[in-house]
């Protein structure tokens, strides 16, 4: 494959870095990884042709340092940078500096990032473009008192949201005026810590809405298409854990309407590349613009499964000035795809991250199963970065087939050494609520509340395994003496989460 881009530096880590490099390899492009000190032997470092040390431990000391990333690109002669998601992917300054250094950013123009990055600005632009938005304050609200007035005109319950925000940070639900002052302060402080900008605004709180998003793809020649929707209502901590395409809730009319609005939103900011327009939908199928993510989405595989496209390939092609190879009318989708995010976390402890070392890993495979892992046996999941282990996605000719396949694949997953949410994911997928397709953003709460009772079918086997192991262990001790015992101590990587009181219930 020709084109100006010859070598791509991926300014990210984990599964998304691998995802991007895989397509680069297929396109015959060189790959450059960057890494923090803890990531020296991480999978993305091993996968790349070249790897440059950024130094530092935290993201702030490594993956977020623009100068270090640019220096790495210059040292290796990378002519393009793919930012993945998170980190610098939606940072306009980064985009500008790459421009001044003559490095191609595989992503939208900085102006589009700015327009969409600031929630209240984005709302203004969308309103101007005639895109429906959630009723709320015109812009940032000065103080708690003004907030009360605004809130009463919007109507309770309302959400206090960070103006510069995203990712569920700096958000508070408020039921009545009396609680507004406290929530306002809390949201402000969280916003300051997360975005260095403590401005907040108000939005009407939609009760248990659906979270549905539309994938868009635009080139530099004015062409823009949508690649249908993704259903992302199943979230915990305001983060998605199960996504699917198409949505069981969206009918053809709604699909057409949302797609058109999404393209309209993208065009309103002169968008280029792959982006996602997120909507909230109520039970009456009214949908409101929530935000636009100006980068590749974690859950993009479900869209790839049903369209047969490689979104990273098109990001790169568009970035090197190619024209989209298809018009809206050429696009269609086939079958159904569902993705589940496997996290190192403890659902029984409020989905608290459960870092640790992966001692043994067996990933699912077989027909129509795709595993995007960022780790392998021996990898450490550190508290420094996102605790996602893998994205497991499947395809089926219909939704029921895809769900059965996902459950089969989840059952094949074996992660030894730390706590994961795999058991929770299987419970969720098993619920009648999920299988019926009739659910909303309140789903995870319901599952926790026991809509899906924990299955104790295997408890007696656990007892037998433990007793048998104890017996063999004691036999060994008798023969080999205490010296061996020290050896056994080393094994117990699970002490990590055993320390957590609630670990016992995981």
């Amino acid at each position: 494959m020709s084109g100006p881009i010859q070598k791509v530096l991926v300014a990210n880590r984990g599964e998304i870095a691998l995802r991007v490099m895989r397509t680069c390899r297929e396109m015959g492009l060189g790959t450059v990884a960057v890494f923090s000190e803890p990531d020296r032997t991480a999978l993305h470092v091993r996968y790349a042709d070249e790897a440059i040390a950024l130094g530092g431990e935290t993201s702030a000391e490594s993956y977020l340092v623009i100068d270090k990333i640019i220096a790495a690109a210059q040292k290796t002669g990378a002519d393009a940078i793919h930012p993945g998601y998170g980190f610098l992917s939606e940072n306009p300054d980064f985009a500008r500096q790459l421009e001044t250094h003559g490095i191609i950013l595989i992503g939208p123009r900085p102006e589009a990032m700015e327009a969409m990055g600031h929630k209240t600005k984005a709302r203004a632009v969308m309103i101007a473009a005639g895109v429906p938005v959630v009723p709320g304050s015109e812009g940032p609200v000065e103080g708690p008192d003004e907030a009360v007035i605004e809130a009463e005109s919007i109507g309770f319950p309302i959400m206090v949201k960070a103006a510069a925000g995203g990712g569920g940070k700096g958000m508070r639900r408020v039921a009545e005026s009396s609680a507004l002052h406290a929530a306002f302060a809390a949201a402000q402080s969280e916003a300051r810590n997360s975005f260095g900008d403590d401005r907040v605004y108000l939005e009407r709180f939609l009760d248990r809405p659906r979270h549905i998003e539309v994938q868009v793809l635009a080139d530099t020649h004015g062409n823009c298409v949508h690649l249908f929707e993704r259903e992302c209502s199943i979230q915990r901590r305001h983060q998605k854990i199960i996504e699917e395409a198409p949505s069981a809730f969206v009918d053809e009319a709604m699909r057409k309407a949302m797609g058109a609005v999404a393209v309209q939103a993208a065009k309103a900011v002169g968008y280029v590349g792959a982006g996602t327009v997120e909507f909230l939908a109520d039970a009456q199928r009214n949908f409101f613009f929530l935000e636009m993510n100006t980068r590749l989405q974690v859950e993009h595989p479900v869209t790839e499964w049903i369209t047969g496209l490689d979104l990273v390939e098109w990001q790169i092609r568009v970035a090197q000035g190619e024209v989209l190879g298809f018009k809206q009318e050429d696009l269609s989708f086939e079958g159904h795809s569902v993705e589940a995010r496997v996290y190192a976390e403890d659902p029984a402890a409020g989905f608290m991250p459960a870092p640790g070392t992966i001692e043994h890993l067996h990933v699912p495979s077989g027909p129509y199963v795709r595993d995007d892992s960022g780790v392998s046996a021996g990898s450490e999941v550190t508290p420094l970065y996102d605790p996602m282990i893998s994205k497991l996605s499947v395809w089926g000719r219909d939704r029921a087939t895809a769900i059965a396949r996902l459950d089969r694949a989840l059952a094949e997953y074996k992660v030894v050494g730390l706590t994961t949410n795999i058991s929770f994911l299987r419970r969720a997928v098993m619920t009648e609520e999920f299988r019926s397709g009739d659910f909303d953003t309140g789903f995870v709460g319901d599952v926790i509340e026991g809509a899906a009772p924990v299955d104790d079918r295997y408890e007696h086997l656990a007892v037998w395994a433990a007793v048998a192991d104890a017996f063999l262990r004691d036999q060994k001790l008798e023969t080999q003496g205490a010296q061996r015992q020290a050896g056994d101590a080393g094994v117990s990587a699970w002490r990590r989460y055993a320390l957590v009181g609630s670990g016992g219930h995981s």
Binding site: G350, M352, D455, V463, A465, S492, A493, G503
Partner: protein
């Protein structure tokens, strides 16, 4: 035949007898016997063939304090579920009971699962708490993590200073299990 006492997560206890027979193990639970063909596999996995028919992978990880002969805590992965058990042989159980089971007392201790900052305590010493009740909130990975009580009991003490940064494993709250109150 050696007998083990297993305490389940819900507190119920079961007695299981074990004896070797050739390469297999014979497990006796009440008056029911099962033949277990257990093979160790790489990566801490093991495979169990029960009564020459039922097939299961399992992982057994001893989670107890090795310096404590009475701490039989073990986590067992079967299918996709982890079962937290407490397994001790008969002799040790009798000894532990004699000593007066300080093991339970520590069962309610809540430690920091990762480096973080103590944002706020949700209880005070002397409070009665129930299993699953939030005790303390720690900020880590840019998220607020609420740590819950393992079982019912009474809050003994709050150990880490409010707002302080704590290391992974630091003791935050100790809870005296009801049995010992």
């Amino acid at each position: 035949m050696k007998t083990y006492v297993v305490r389940l997560a819900d507190g119920e206890t079961i007695e299981v007898g074990v004896e070797a027979q050739g390469d297999d193990l014979i497990l006796t639970q009440g008056d029911v016997k099962h033949r277990l063909d257990l093979r160790r596999l790489p990566g801490a996995m093991m495979h169990m063939l029960v009564d020459g028919q039922a097939s299961y992978d399992a992982v057994v990880e001893w989670a107890g304090d090795d310096s404590d002969p009475f701490d039989g805590r073990v986590n067992v992965l079967v299918s996709d579920r982890v079962y937290a058990l407490d397994v001790l042989d008969h002799r040790r159980v009798r000894m532990r009971d004699a000593v007066g089971g300080e093991d339970e007392a520590s069962a309610g201790a809540v430690h920091a699962p990762m480096p973080g900052k103590v944002l706020r305590y949700l209880v005070e010493p002397g409070d009665q708490v129930v299993a699953g009740q939030g005790l303390v909130v720690v900020e880590a990975m840019k998220m607020e993590n609420e740590l819950a009580a393992a079982g019912d009991g009474q809050v003994e003490a709050l150990h880490a200073e409010l707002g302080s940064n704590v290391e992974k494993g630091a003791l935050l709250v100790s809870v005296m299990a009801l049995g010992d109150v």
